[in-house]
């Protein structure tokens, strides 16, 4: 096991435990205040696109907002299928197949 990766994984575990344990151990009957609840619900909705979209549109740090970027088409397929309430893993698999096919045929 690589030392840097070990540090990363242990740090991830500690950071994650810090999100799980304190409020469970507090055993409080008081619900979180509504604006705080809303913020906690919105965080993943903001973090995941902040991660995904630059991976798709800025591969290697260079803008690639062109039809020749296979990942752009894969993204549209994934979003269309999830919007149509398709199974999550099915949507992902379809996106992967589209990207692989476009790369294979060099379209």
């Amino acid at each position: 096991m690589r030392a840097g990766v070990l540090v990363t994984i242990v740090g991830m575990a500690a950071a994650t435990y810090l999100t799980r344990a304190p409020l469970l151990l507090a055993l409080s009957d008081r619900a979180l205040r509504p604006p705080l609840r809303l913020w906690l619900r919105l965080i993943p909705l903001a973090v995941l696109p902040a991660l995904a979209i630059p991976l798709v549109l800025l591969p290697d740090g260079r803008p690639a907002l062109t039809p020749s970027n296979p990942q752009l088409w894969g993204t549209l397929v994934v979003l269309a299928l999830t919007a149509a309430r398709a199974n999550l893993l099915l949507s992902v698999a379809a996106g992967v197949v589209v990207v692989a096919a476009l790369r294979h045929f060099g379209l």
Partner: protein, 206 residues
Amino acid sequence: MFVYATVWGGLARQAGLSLGEIVLMCLIVTAGASQFVAVPMIAAGAPPLAVIVTTYVVNMRHYLMAATLAPAFRGFPRRWLALIAHGVNDESFALAAARRNPPDPWFFLGSVAAVYGSFIAGALVGAVLGGLVSDPARYGLDFAFPAVFLALVAVQLKRRGDWAVAGGAALLALAIAWRVPGNWHIVIAGLVASGLGALVMQPEDP
């Protein structure tokens, strides 16, 4: 859950994580979305602190679940709770909270055991299978990461404000990532867009 973990295990293996690293992460982190987030960052050689802070932000939603579960665990020994806390996860929470309010603690724990077991078993199967594929980009598998992230978000978008938060975060992240090297665009855009959304949007009923 098993299939989701299998996909993660396979992708993690192709991204260069060893079997030991994969098993350790499943055992002590045990948070699917953040593990999906961490793998491409680790593969790209991101500094540990960047991965750890990003993991923390992705997992901050656990605070919401832990606070909702807390009343159900009144009367449990604190030492147990310190251990049970590690089991807080999206799927078990969703199942337990949908059945009863406050959730049934024993139902929750049963679900945690099932999720934990299938998560680790799935990741192991995926890791072994993933070791067999030699050129992931050829099969479009590098795209599986953004695809999972986008699908996870798309199923959660309910209110108009949700769309604005997700879209705003994407644009802000693009702008930052284009100009600033490193991985901080994820955390910064994520916190800024969700924080603005929480300030502007009408809070919802619990």
